[in-house]
Amino acid sequence: MSFAIFAPELIILITACIVLFGEWFFKPVDRVKEKRGRNIGFVTIIGMFLSLGTLLGFKSTNFMLMESFFSSDKASFYHSFVLDDFALYFKAIIVFSSILTVLISFKYISEKIRNSGEFYSLICMATLGGMVISSANEMITFFLGIELLSISSYILSCMNKEDKKSSEAAMKYFVVGGLSSALTLYGFSLMFGLTGVIDFPSLASALGKLSQAPQPVSVILIIATVMSFAGLGYKIAAAPFHMWAPDVYEGAPTPVTAFLSITSKIAGFAAFSRFLQIFTNDLANQMIILIAIVSVITMCAGNFLALVQKDVKRMFAFSSIAHAGYILIGLIPLIKGNYDDFSSVLFYLTGYIFMNIGAFGAIMYFSKHTGSTEIESFAGVAKKSPFIAFVFSCCLVSLAGLPPFGGFTGKFYLFVSAVNSGYAWLAFVGALNSVVSLYYYVKIMKAMYLKDPEESIKWELPNAALTMAAIISIVGMLALFIMPYPFLQMAKIGF
């Protein structure tokens, strides 16, 4: 058995263990807690970078020595864990997004969270969960990956222990998450009952055969599908399973919100993409319609409810719901088996990292100084910190899907894939929704630029990590717009 394919995960796991005892390791070195927190963060980032490097190494050396590697059931862990291009790409962006999330959270964590070692450790665990999902090829691993991600997210949401909101958020996340897990499991169990298998490839072929089955079977299949869909939809906060999201995003510590809205969402989509492969034939068609309708509801719910929000974090919850809606469009080609167009999802997710990292970095920075995440409290911040405000605006513009940023290219590519799959109306709805979204994104810009600050003293400059994250974010967004081709090539993966 070759454990080498676990290398990225193992590195993350080791990092998790190291930083878990980080407080203890670094105590002799750094007596100041803040510094210590930062150093632990560095270790986390280094570990994650190693993991990312391993992933890229896999990709570049064409690690798919699959011929020999998957020659036996044993060597491939009976296909429960695969390492195809899809998994590699998802893992890479999951780890990358985690790195950026950690990068923007240094300050916040060392200031507000007591147990920074545990915090980073949990972040690593959650990332690990996401990576497991990306590679999972059977229900149990899949489910465990989701739970690994979910449970660590519950804990992370609760990390501001003195904060009422934080614990409330964790509670909400936990209860809804638990119920959703139960639903998913029930759906899985029905599928298992119908087919007798739990690994996705066999499931796909079995369900393919079943799709011609007489009516009662197809009905129970629909029930199973919908129930599993509910659980996965909850993970990406797709309406109507999104209701937890705003409260949790609002209550959770901001780095965790960033993590939930980026890494967790990407992992959710990894899960979705993995899961959707099991649908073929007639079932696929029904699934497409289900996804289309859910994506419309999600887009609309996200965008419309975001219109009336007053809290930036809460607004970003709805924004991320809306984006889940857009991305869901891109899953349609996946079900159709058009993997070229599916790369739009990967591309969009890549862009989504850059946009949200910049935005959450800015939110953290601003809310630290204003002491609030209300939009109104951001009034005139552009005068106090022009650079971060500029980056934030760029991110918002990109989120709204306007050029010259990656958000535009990504969204355009998503719509392209929708039209290509014969769902032009979906692209149209998406485009109209982007217009609606423009309203609330612009509202933030309005607060930042058009309003006058209460006092005009300039704030201290953002720390190096945040600056770096901001630059990465803006450069990334621009790069995705100006030369999207390399990224598209990368995202264009074979299964």
């Binding site: 119920l179 869909f229 309708i293 509801i297 409810l305 109306w425 309203y439």
Partner: protein, 689 residues
Amino acid sequence: MIEFAVKNAWLVALLPLLSSIVITFLTRKSPVLSSRISRAFIFMALTLSSLICYEAVNDIDYVLQNSAGSLRWFTSGSFDFALSWKVDAVTAMMLVVVTLISTLVQLYSREYMEEYIHKGYSFSRYYAELSLFSFSMLLLVLTDNFLVLYAGWELVGVSSFLLIGFFFEKKSAPYAAKKAFLANRVGDFGFLLGILLIFTYTNTLNFDVAAAQIAAGKMTGGVLTLAAILTFFGAMGKSGQFPLHIWLPDAMEGPTPVSALIHAATMVAAGVYMVAKIMTIFAQATFPVLWGFNALDFIAAIGGITAIMAAFIAITQTDIKKILAYSTVSQLGFMILTLGMYSTEGGITPLGYTAGMFHLFTHAFFKAMLFLCSGSVIHACHTQDIFEMGGLRKKMPVTAITCLIGTAAISGAPGFAGFWSKDAMLDAIYEGNMFLFALAAIGATMTAFYMFRLYFLTFEGEYRGHGHPHEPGWRMKFPLIFLAIPSVLIGFVGTPWADYFKDFVHYTPVVKHATEHAAHHGPNWIVMGCSLAIFTVGTGLSFALYGKGDLSKSEALSLKMGGLFKASLNKLYIDEAYLWFIDKFVLAFAKASSLFDKFVIDMIVNVVSWACIGVAHFAKRMHSGNIQQYAMGVIVSVLLLIFAGTNYVYIAKQLPIYWVWITIGLILAVALSVLGYFGNLFKKILDSK
């Protein structure tokens, strides 16, 4: 020299433009220099046009062959729009009239406007605008295509606008300027459409070619008549024909020399000139469109109405310039009426055409002179109300005599220029339509009456004003005297016995076609008798009422006439009707559409956005904060999706696929929000316990 002038006829128009440009850009700061430059340039233009006219009189064929020229202006598609010009007899005549009167008026203005210069008005601006006007008028006159004609047409409107509004700090002057421009624009609207019609059908803008095309049958029947009538709208606007005459009296707000030049002699004649110039088109527009009227009928009717209406109004006016203005309108009405005459054979009477042109020619001199006289009087008395004048003959003999000559001329005193031209016109109308003849006769009588009324009230009797009026300087006197000569003598070029003018004018290719078959006929003694009678009656009445400087008789008469007097004094309430229409319809409609824009169209936009926000405000209640609410939401959604999914097979058979799902999605959304709402309700019930 003559050859140069003929071959470079465009120079006549260009010279004033040059002077305008030089004044605007170079000598703006020095008024006297500006005036000199302007006068020099216009004098050069006068010289050139005199040479052209001389050559035209001598050898019209030479002029016709050598004066034409064309420049490509722009190309659209494969059609070249050209700046083209050509001198024919009418043009040659107009060139002289325009440049001559321009020259005289510019000279006159040098003195007249001096007092305004001291008040801070820019002399340079005045002369630049005058030059611009001369250019526009000459452009209009010189060209031989519709587009440039239209351009010149507009440009004279603009310069007229500028000059009327010269005293821009007054409230009335800019108002009058705007009114003039707008009234002209109404006419131009029709003119433009007429041109477009002709252009669309004949695919040319050249007068001659268009006429030929029409003759060739490219444009016939109702369309042609319509085009002719629409084109005539332009003339109605520019020449102050009913119902677009309202701007002309108001235009007297401009400086008096301007009135003399633009609103008496040249620009207002442009309409008449235009109708004459494209007479062939009118002549062929014989298809009756409305109640059996064709284009010329329409023209004649409008002219007749205008002539008598304006004369009627002029009788009671007290403002010296307004009287002259209405007289101008009336005289223009005569010209138009005459132009609209056609013989019973269906062709155009050459007499109508030539008589109209002749009156245009003579009228230019004596009306310009009358205006200049009035300017002299106003200059002296600082008022325009003739009831505050009187007895000025003793104080201003030159002005009085020239004014008398002008009055005699316009009233048709035998031997004076006006007599011959009016006689020719009446002759033409007599040939055409007796009813209109009667109308014209009455109008002419009224002309004699009110013109002498003006003369008597101003120059005879006792002085009723304040101050000490005196003769103006030589710059103002010279034009008066100079114009008096043609006012007396010029008529002799067109006597019924030796109608040189007719021979000259009708030798114009444009109208040649229509007029060549017409016979040369001698004097019509009946008409001449009528003319004499008209003059006698009008003058006599006027003398009886005002001759002795005693106003009581006229006041008594006016009281006796009551309604008629009031109607005349208030200009038949036409202005009021216009204002009422504009206020109650145009502006009201504008305001209504503004409200419509604000409260309907814009409101729809706003309502959409409010609706979005409103929906969001409603739907956000589903996030009630209660955890179990959310859990319930998940369960409900799952149930609904299951329900939809399991029944979709059945539903899909009847309905198109998307609609089912969209409906289900909507139901889901509504259910969720209702659930959220009721969840909240439950909470309230709970709280109340």
